[in-house]
Symmetry: C2
Subunit: 325 residues, 2 copies
């Protein structure tokens, strides 16, 4: 692939940490522009240095506030930080209504911090790919720690978390039984648990339940027992005031353990497998869908199904025979 001078310049600028160039590329990735894909191809070989942190948990668990406090903590240690906030999209505003996370704007003047939001507007599997690519951009910018904050705990979020080396799951007391169920669903991906708003009733009980669940696990990979860290208010100096630093330390400890035990390689492999799956979907299924839509055949297929002349599986097999070798 012949590189144009504009392409070389783009890579050079991103590697130099240029905010404007990186932001434009992330925007283009989100919009699915073909030139953005070419850019990712070129920057990919320069990725792999950052420590990628996934921060997930239930809505209302206070993830943004926690991420904001962690930025300050990492900056005190002179680490550069990238943050990617994955936001729900409002059909009314057409964009990410949490915007660029107002609270984090206090870091806007700090060249060591780069915060971007990604809206979940892309349907049918595009989001995880856009997130992975945006993380690559921040990685190439030289951000040492990249935090990916996702709202919710659905399957898609779990896939996004597969892009991380260290996963922090944020819980809050008193959210009811279903939360406990979901919590169980993300247990296996958590490296660190945070019980946020731990000054609320039920915090000790939740910590106890979590510890009990963890004690049922016979052996953790690399001998890493996920710590349960209680944080009252990230800005206060109350009984849990020191816990934010405890969390920051745990994140560093986990990364060292990953490196020492060779588990980092496993995590990177897992992340790579997810990326291959997403790229295959993009390269194989997406062009066929576009083709069917453009030719009007998708409409014909829908008509045949609505008239009960066939069933989705039989029609899909017919299409597959035409497109596959």
């Amino acid at each position: 692939m012949a590189e144009t001078s504009a392409e070389k310049e783009q890579l050079r600028k991103i590697r130099a940490g240029d905010v404007r160039t990186a932001s434009r590329l992330i925007r283009n990735l989100e919009d699915g522009l073909p030139e953005a894909k070419s850019s990712i191809k070129r920057i990919f070989p320069h990725t792999g240095s950052a420590h990628i942190l996934g921060v997930t948990g239930s809505p209302g668990a206070g993830k943004s506030t926690l991420v904001d406090a962690l930025i300050s903590s990492f900056r005190k240690k002179e680490k550069t930080v990238g943050v990617l906030a994955v936001d729900p999209t409002s059909p009314f505003t057409g964009g990410a209504i949490l915007g660029d996370r107002i609270r984090m704007q206090r870091h806007a003047e700090d060249p060591g911090v780069f915060v971007r939001s990604l809206a979940t507007r892309g349907a049918l599997g595009g989001l995880a790919k856009a997130v992975g690519d945006a993380v690559h951009v921040m990685d190439v910018m030289g951000k040492e720690i990249i935090m990916v904050e996702t709202v919710g705990t659905g399957q898609q979020e779990v896939e996004i978390i597969n892009h991380s080396h260290t996963v922090v799951v944020v819980l809050v007391p008193g959210m009811g039984d279903e939360i406990q169920a979901i919590k169980a669903g993300i247990m296996e991906i958590a490296d660190i648990f945070v019980i946020n708003k731990a000054d609320r009733d039920g915090a000790a009980q939740l910590a106890g339940e979590l510890t009990a669940m963890l004690s049922m696990v016979p052996e953790f990979p690399g001998g890493w027992q996920p710590p349960v860290i209680r944080i009252g208010n990230v800005f206060d100096t109350g009984p849990f005031g020191a816990s934010l630093e405890e969390l920051a330390s745990a994140i560093g400890d986990h990364h060292r353990r990953l490196v020492e035990t060779g588990l980092l390689g496993d995590r990177m492999r897992r992340k790579t497998m997810v990326e291959i799956h997403e790229a295959l979907r993009d390269a194989i299924l997406e062009p066929i869908l576009q083709d069917l839509i453009k030719s009007g055949e998708m409409e014909d297929l829908a008509g045949r199904l609505l008239r009960k002349e066939s069933d989705p599986y039989t029609l899909a097999e017919e299409v597959a025979r035409r497109y596959l070798k």
Copy 2:
């Protein structure tokens, strides 16, 4: 396709509402067995009679309790009911930890009610298809109203909701700003809003915010203005005691409106498009992924990426060229 007598018998039994045959087929669909796919092909032409209701909302919003109360309400009107509860999977128990929804078991003796859970164990897009197929089974069983209850509000849940004719979004007061954001993300799919636990502080405020958001919409399809129904406790006779019947009526009204305005056809078309997408993924992408995994090539691809010899997009394009005509 030549039908065996066993296949004919299966279809006959499902059409007669046989619980054992239907349950086995749903289980096989969940496990992705090939014979289950053949069964769906055969039953598909007999689908299309049920009113399919999606019930979604945040974790802890009380969806299961509401669905349970709606079962009783529909049964009083002598409607037969199917319920499909989509559950998070626990990696520790390996199954749906909410099980078959203990609370709904009080309907277990009623042949007019069929309740099944589906676990979200299928990664990468399999869930929505399994849900759609299970709904088809209940439809062919003759269930007049089928409720699909999903936990969470992620992209995957939104796709599952695309299988419904009427969508009920359940909210609770006092869940924080992020809930409001998510709420906005599912605004466009909601036909009816329920504010559950409306005896809590903040219910009136939430109702006001919702109404204000809805008033910004210039025109609703078919002139259907989504009602906002406050429910205190589905089992009490307090100030909101009548609201469950209000909800059941609104569900009936919405269905009538869909039929009268011809919007039901649009909804069925949307549902059909989602089914085609899922079937195409299943027929085109899935066999290629399986092929790459079995031949060991997936491992090779991962290795090349980890050694930064290539990038995911370039590798996927190489694979696409080999498999696509």
